[in-house]
Every structure is written in C-alpha cells, then in structure tokens.
Symmetry: D4
Subunit: 176 residues, 8 copies
C-alpha cells in the first residue's frame, strides 16, 4: 500500500497483529481512502515509531490507527508524539483476552487522548469506520458513500432476518 498520499496510517506492534488489523484496511479500501500500513513497535523499535509519528502530519496523514496487544502502548506513544487524532485497537494476543490491551489503550491520562475501539476484529473494522466518519466531514462524496453504507447495513440486517425466517421454517415448523 505504498500510497503516495495516504490519508490514514495504520500501525501495528507486530506483524502477527495483521490478521486483525486487516479489518481496518478493508474498510478503507472499500471507501477508496488511500492508506498506508506498516509495523512498528513502541517497545522494540521506539525510534522508528517516533520517526513515523513525527513525519505523519507532514505527509498528509489525517488519522492514525494503532493496533497492539499486551500492555499496548503504541497508540498512546503515537498520541504523545503527533498532534493528529489517534485511534487505538486493542489486540487480544495475551492470555488475558485483550482486557490488558484495552485498559492500556483507553485509560490514557488527561491531556493525551486515544480514541479507542473495541477489542479485536470488531474494533479493527470500527477503526476504519470511525476514520471514514471523520474524513467524510469535509468530503461530500465520501459522506454520500458513508450514508449508503449505513443504509446497506440496515438492509443487511433485513437479509439476515429473511435467512433466519427460512431456517425457522425447518427448525420450528408451523405445525408446532
């Protein structure tokens, strides 16, 4: 994704987080939002992380999404270094099922915010959706596609309801 002008920068602490964080990328790709995605660890490569954070705004990045597990400091460290809005996705990679990464991401002290999404896949998808909502503020075309998406989610629910309706005919036949 060597986009020349990425609007969203997706960072993850380890490439083992990719299966989860791909969810953010999929949403952005669906909305044709240029993004860049790479690996950098708050702990194992602090200088790389600092460099990426400091250069992001100058490269036109408007939002940073950071996914990390365990004592997830990545989003917080980025928020301490860049004035850009930073979204955090807690990855459930430790034995504590993401409770540790959630608290380490969301419980930031006053002054340095991380907009935190849910643990794991749902959170990664929602980081993409939150970025879309932000970018749609000044982009009428994107706003329209977002509105369409919201409608399609609603009709997706109706489709699911119809599928369930069929299934119920078998599981609980009318003559019950």
């Amino acid at each position: 994704m060597a986009e020349k002008h990425p609007r969203v920068l997706i960072l993850m602490g380890s490439d083992s987080d990719y299966e989860v964080m791909k969810g953010t990328a999929k949403v952005l790709a669906e909305f044709d939002i240029p993004f860049e995605m790479t690996v950098s660890s708050a702990h194992r490569s602090p200088e790389r992380t600092e460099k990426i954070a400091k250069e992001a705004a100058g490269r036109g990045v408007q939002v940073i999404v950071a996914g990390a597990g365990h004592a997830a400091h990545l989003a917080g460290v980025l928020a301490a270094t860049t004035p850009l809005p930073v979204l955090g996705v807690p990855i459930p990679s430790s034995d504590l099922s993401g409770l540790d990464s959630l608290l380490a991401t969301v419980q930031m002290p006053g002054g340095v915010p991380v907009g935190t999404l849910g643990i794991g896949s749902a959170g990664a998808k929602n980081a993409g959706m939150f970025a879309v909502r932000m970018l749609a503020l000044g982009d009428a075309d994107l706003a329209q596609r977002l509105a369409d998406k919201l409608k399609s989610m609603a009709s997706g629910v109706e489709d699911a309801a119809n599928r369930l309706s069929e299934r119920l005919k078998t599981d609980f036949p009318p003559a019950l």
Copy 2:
C-alpha cells in the same frame, strides 16, 4: 451554551454526569470551539435523543461527545443514528467503578464505531482534546493553538519536576 453554530455537541445521560463532563467543555472553551451541551438519555428519552442525533449534522455539528454511566448506551445509540463521529466517555456512576460503562461504550459490534476515551474525568478531558485534534485537521489556527498546548503540557511537567525538587529538599535533605 446556546451557541448558534456549535461544532461539538456534548450529551450526557443525566445531569448528575455534569461534574465529569464539564471537563470536555472546559477544553473546548479553552480552544474557543463553539459547543452545545445538553442532557438526553438513551433510555429515559429515546425520542429526544434520536431527534438530537438526526439534526446534529444539519446544524453544523462535527463531533458528538456522549457521557453516560451504568450500561452506557448513549454513545452507541447516537452512533447508530448519525453519520457523525461519536466519542464516548464512560462515567463511573455505578458500583462497578465504570467498568460497566467502559465495556458498554467501547465494545461496539463491527460497523458502528464509538471512539472511546477513559473512564471519568481524564476521559472527559480527553474527549475535548480528541475533538480539538479532529477539528485542527482543517484549521491552521487551531492547529497552532493545539501545538502550543502540547508544548505547554511538556513545560507543565517541568514545572512539576521543579516543585517536586523543592519538596525533596525538605523530605530528603542533601545531608541524608
């Protein structure tokens, strides 16, 4: 705060949440960002909440901040109704110290994001700071003031270090 053109809308589920949510307002006031602040409950006044959410974008609101306690549904319900970005502040009003409101705010299913800040006062302040970061994306003057603020936080730490230094002279005198 009957701002004619609020850019940020702050909602809280109960006026007992005001002492916490005032922290968001203070940050916005400090940055001269027009905001509106009111009470609406996802549960006790769902129609009012829906109306406010539906009208927000048309009134020029760019971000909604929602603070709620217990099974905090307010931010999620707003995010389901408006395409605007919604920030959630979990309020520690129940016996569970905000763990319930944190999980009820942040663990949104995929598709409908709430950018969640920390529990209580730190989170309320950070909701304001996150809104400032978002709005500074397209506002060079605000971006400058945000940069100044970040610098002042760093120098505030140095001031605290100096204060501590004085205190240590008493508590642990050199001749120890």
Copy 3:
C-alpha cells in the same frame, strides 16, 4: 415462525446469535407458546428495531426476549421504546466471554428495566422459562404444564444420579 398472534417476540442482534437463542425458542415450542423470532440490531438497523418495538404490544406480544453480544444495547433500547417487559440474554460473542454483554445488558440505569438472564445457552433457555412463568400467571393450563416441567426436572436429576451410580460401579468398584 410467522405466528399470527405471537405472545413472545425473540430478537437477536445478529443471525450468528441464533445458535444460542434457539434455546429460548425450544422452551417456548415445548410449551406451545406462539412466538416470533427475528433479527434486528440496535446499532445497524435502529429504525427497524424501533418499529418492531413500537408495534409489539399492539400485536399482542406480552414479553420480548433480546439476545445480543459485545456492548449489548438491544434489550435496553427495546425497554426504552416499549412498555412491555423485556428480558435480556447476554451473548458471549466477543473476546471477553460475555462479561461485556452481561454488564451492558443488566446494569440499566434506574427507570428502564431489563430482566437479565445468564450468559449464553443457559441464559437463553432461562429466558424461555421466565417467559413461561410470566405467561402462566393467568393461564391455568400453562401453569399445570409448568408444574409438570418442574417435577420432570427434579426426576431428571434422579435419573442423572442413577446413571452416575452405574458409572461409579465401574470407576470405583465396591471392593475399593
């Protein structure tokens, strides 16, 4: 289950919740209580959810059972919209094993109640049993069948005790 006159309405936030929520339907089917079961999300299809909730009482529904995972708002949103009693079943679909959906369902602020059952399958079954208890209040025949069921549960325990007794003969033979 296109029952013309459903007495119980079972809603779930996603059709992936069906495997759990089927447990509620099975109990109702066992007691010949007409029910309707469909999918509607508090977040992805709020208007559909609102419509279903508003129409329920008029259609003769007497109890609503709502199953949802993650930040489970479905039961609470329904309880905010309909005067009918609403039962909530927390679904363990996120990484937090249902602790999030339990707290998001049960910790409702004062005024808008959700009668919450346990997490997952046991809770889904018990939502059905609670509905039966409610409906049996004014239905002597149903009350009789409920009494029979309670007796059969007790004799089921005795059967289990007998099965265990046989097994113990092998695992811990008398000559021990």
Copy 4:
C-alpha cells in the same frame, strides 16, 4: 405492609439491605400495587424462606423480588421452590462491590430462571418497574399509568436539560 392481598413479595436476605430494597417498594407504592416486604435468608433461615416461597402463589402473589448480597442465593433458592417469576437484585454489601452478588444471582443454570436487575439502587428501582410492566399486561389502568410514567421520565430529562442550560450560563458564559 401487611397487605391482605399482596401482588408483589419483596424479600431481602438481611434488614441491612433495606436501604437499597426500599427503592422497589417506592415504585410499587407509587403505582398503588399492593406488596409485602420481609426479611428471610437463604442461608440463615432456609425453612422460613422455603415456607414463604411455597405459600406465595397461593396467597395471590404474582412476582417475587429478592435482594441479597455476597454469594446471593436468595433469588435462586426462591426460583427453585416457587413457579412464580422471580426477580433478583444484587446488593453491593461485600468488598467486591456487588460483582459477587451479580454473578451469584444472574448466572443461574438452565431451567431455573432469575430475571436479574442491576446492582444496588438502580436495580432495586428497576425490579419495581419490571414488576409494574408485568402486572400491566392484564391491567389497562395500570398500563395507562405506566405509559404516563414513561412520558414523565422523558419530560424529566427535558427538565434536567433546562436546569443544565441555566447552569451553563454561569459556568460557560456566552461571551466565551
């Protein structure tokens, strides 16, 4: 409250739970629903508890509300003894802030349901509101008063919004 024909029976494990459980009684009194309220412990007076549970249905009781703290077994023991619907209110009387009583109340095994409300005061109030919703099913007058109550909750939110509005004029004066 020696009501001759109580429709709701409120039990609590200890009279120290009364300050919380009074919330249930207040709601019922507000709706003119005859209730009876007494103390009985699942552990310290099991025979009294069993007797009360067995006689309840015959006395015309339609719902039982049980509040208990610590390893709160009261609601579950009642549900095992009576076919009436049982509502549980977890009391935060131990060092664990009600997490223990919540789990001990809500996590009932399949077959014996307890409709559980939130921890403490909000839960006690909601037990009353849930009872009202149940009893309103076959009582048009009560249904009307419930509908009025729901409206008054919504207008109560508007009152709170107005009070906040006044307060904001002082805290964040227009000239901000």
Copy 5:
C-alpha cells in the same frame, strides 16, 4: 459407591460435573475412606437436596463436598441445612471460566460457612485432601498415611526435577 457407612458425601449439581469431581473420589479411594457420590441440584431438585442434607449427619457422614458451576448455590444450600462442615468446589462450566462459581461458593454471608477449594480439577482434588486432613485428626492410621502422602508429594517433585534434568541435556546441551 453404595457405601453403607460413607464418611464423606460428594454431591454435584449435574452429572456433567463428574469428570471434575471424580478427582475428589480418587483421593478418598486412595486413602480407603468410604464415600458416597451422587447428583443433586440446588435448583432443579431442591427437595432431594434438602433431604440428602438433612439425613447426612444421621448416616454418619462427617464432611460434605459439593461441586457446582454457574451461580453455584449447592454448597451454600447444604451448609444452610446441615451442621456438618461443607466443602465447595467451583466448577468452570459457564462462559466465565469459574469466576462466577467461585464467587457464588466462597462469598457466603457471615454465619454459614463453606470451605472453598480452587476452581476445577485442582479444587476437586484438594477437597479430597482437605477431607483427609479433617478425618485424620482423630485417626492415627489415616494420619500416618497422610504423612506418607505428603512425603511422596515432595519426592514426586524430586522425580520431576530429575526428568527435567534429563530433558535439559537435550534442549540445552552442556556445550552451550
């Protein structure tokens, strides 16, 4: 295990708990302590449970071990009915990994004690070991066998150390 004179009575809430509770029986069998093991649920068969509890002391039972999952009330209900010492084993059968059954077993209100062991297999084994310690108080022969067992546990550790030592020769050869 229709022992005529069981000294230990092992109860479990469901026969699905047997795989865990077998651990208690194994310890007792190893020490030649006569025991009885059966199924009875605090919720599904309260009368059977009460009968068993009331008759236990008269039959010569000296300790009762109760294993149960979810909102585990079995041990507490037994302790409320019999003056015998009751040991509780929390079974991890729900989605909450036994945290619910642990709290529902151990957090008994003052007056009615349950001596609680750990969650699952370790706890079941330890319930047996605790019973042995109790019964050894007045039984010199059993006390001797308990002392031998404690020694064999210590030598078992040395055996494990030797096995590990061998394994290390392969995994971390001396020439490292």
Copy 6:
C-alpha cells in the same frame, strides 16, 4: 489468649489484620473453644511461620485459621508445612479489595488444600463457624450448642423481619 491447650490457632500476616480476624476469635470464644492468636508473616518472618506450623499439631491444635492480604501466601505456606486442616481468610488490605488475596488463597494447586472463606469480616466469622462445625463432629456438647446457634440465627432473621415490619409502618403506611 495464652491458652495452654488451644484447639484452634489463628494466624494473621500483620497486626493490622486484627480488626478483621477478631471475628474468628469472637465465634470461638462464644463456643468456649480454646484458641491461640498471633502474628506471623509468610514473607517477613518465614522461619517463625514454619516453626509455628511444625509445632501446631504436637501442641494439640486441630485447625489453623490464617488471615492475610495482598498476595496472601500465609494459609498456603502453612498448609504446605503442617498436616492439619488450614482455613484461609482473604483480607481486603490492598487496592484490589481482596480479589488478590482471595485468588492467592483459594487457587491452591492440587495436593495442598486451603479451605477458603469469604473476603474480610464475613469470612473471618465463617472461619470460626467452620472450625466449630469440624470440632463438633466428635463433641456432642459442642454439636448441641452449634445446633442452638443455627436455630438462633433463624430466629434472628425473624426478629429482623419484625423490626422491618415496624419500620414499614412508618415508611409505607397502610393507607398507601
């Protein structure tokens, strides 16, 4: 309490635990059971703790009760050193409200049991009650006093019910 022949030995990790552990002593005093109570820490005075544990059985002690906070190892260390039954009382002295001491006390690995009571005051009282139940096994007189106590608990509940009844006359007068 320099009892010459203590039957119960109460240990606590710090004298700051005395206010809680006094509850155990009160129960034993009420039943005229000779006990000894002292301070010894698993961590700060391991040799003293070991000495006390090793000598206990020889001095006629039949049960040890250990109260400790934080990472409460005291009960486990005692159980590893003496063949006597050891009861553990988790003290809520750290910031985690006793969850740490509960888990550190109850989750013993298989082989070395600690019969654990609830956190804090209720647990301390119950440690005394459990000791009484154990000692009553071979002591008809004590068994009788235990039976009386259980009855008095039940009548205590009736007294509480009567007190509540009076109070309700004021709070919810008949003419409601």
Copy 7:
C-alpha cells in the same frame, strides 16, 4: 535529591504520584543509596522522558524505578529506550483501583521487560527493596545491611505478635 552520582533514578508520571513514590525514596535513603527523583510523563513530555532515559546509564544510574497510573506506559517507554533494568510501580490513580496501571505495566510484550511491583504503597516500597537487592549483589557492606534489615523485619513481626498478645488480654480475657 540532586545527588551527583545517583545509582537509582525514580521517575513518576505526575507529581500527584509523589505520596506513593516517596516510599521508594524512603527505602533508598534508609540504605544510604544515592538516588534522584523527578517527574516526567510518557505522554505529556515524551522528549524529556526520552532524554532522561538515554542519559541515565551514562550518569551512572544502575536501576530506574517508574511509577505511573491509568494506562501506565512510563516504565515500558523507559525500558524501550535504556538498556538499564527498569522497575515499574502501578499507581492506583484512576477509577479502576490500579488494575489498569498494573496490566499496562506488567504485560509487556516479549523482549522489553519491566520488573513490576505491586499496586501503590506496598509496590513503591518494594521497588526500593528490589533495587537494594540488586545493588547488594556487588556491595558486601550493602549486603550486610540488607541482611540486617531482613532480620529486623522478622523481629518486627515478633514485636507485632507481642503487641497483639497484650491486646488480646483485654479483648478476650483469660477467664473466657
């Protein structure tokens, strides 16, 4: 404490953490170990933190102790920047009683260790004690003083036992 050659560097994220972190300093002062203590935040003053971390080893610092609350990143950020051993003290400054800061400090991903002590005052004291143990490895005089300290802790327990013994004479007089 402007020690010219500090061997231990104590950092805290905010001067409001001083009351807790003073416990580390007291231990070091007691052992005559030169230390330096200052404020620096991982989030509000990242450059200052980085500078301090990078210069520490060159100034002769041998251990860094970092105390921080909320999503406590300070210890982890230091460990990512310096090769010195870093000890972390979780401060219970948020609504979650230090569970957040504990997990954010201890759950470091593999490669970058933080030796974590307990939450709050006990942890702060123990950070000092751990530093003493480390520094005593190559310092026979310090090792002797550490050995004396360990003995004095044991005799402190005996003093506490004696104090308790006196108190028991009043609370539980011999004639009991």
Copy 8:
C-alpha cells in the same frame, strides 16, 4: 544444565511449566549466561524449596527466576528466604488464564519484593531479558551484546514491516 557456577537459577513449581519457562532459558543461553533450571514447589516440596533458596547466594547465583501457576507462591516464598533479587513469571495453568498467578506473584506486601514479568511466554522471555539487563550492569561484554540485541529487535521490526509490505501488495493491490 548442571552448570558449575550458575549465575541465574530458574525454578518452576511443576515440570508442566517447562514449556513456558524454557523461554527464560533460551534467552540466557543466547547470551551465554550460565544458568541452572529445576523444579521445586512452594507447596509440595517446601523443604527442598527452602534449601535451594538458602544455598543459592553461596553458590554464586545472582538472580532467581520463579515460574508458577494457580495461587503462585513460589517467587514470594523464595524472596522471603534469600536476599537475592527474585523475578516472578505467572503461569496461566488454571482456568483463570493467569490472573490468579499474576496477582499472587505481584501483589507482595511491603518489604519482600518480587519483580514480576507478564503472564506466560512473553513473561518468561522477559525474565531472561531482565536478568541480562541486571547482569550487564557490571559486565561490559554482556552490555555490548545486550545493546546489539536491542538493535536487532529494532531491525527485526523493520524486517516484519517489509514482509507485511509484500503481503499488502497481494491483499490490497495498488490499483485499489
């Protein structure tokens, strides 16, 4: 690993902990630090554990690493017996995923410190890394190899970034 002069002693409570604790050994082997690794349980072999702890310093051991699960007392018991610094690794061997062993290891009362690493594999690796940091304080060659390792971790992150970059070309081709 019968090293004649081990500098690090790795203990584990059970040989089933070896798969996790091997991570500590691998790090030490990588840095050519002589270590010894064996099994000893705080509970099942307290005398063996005491003997090992008391002899460690005299044998030249400079750090002890202790891995244990459940109510993990091993590290604390060692720290109570030896003046050496003790590192603890919580093993997730119980149903509670290591939350029990974490709290039982880290929440030591003031005076007796355990430097605790994260739960499971990451923690075991980090115990090795922390030991290396400690031993490198007085060992210039080891310090150099530690510095090289830290660099290689940073370049490892860049390698991961490159691998991800390749993968993105497939998953999100440029023409998106």
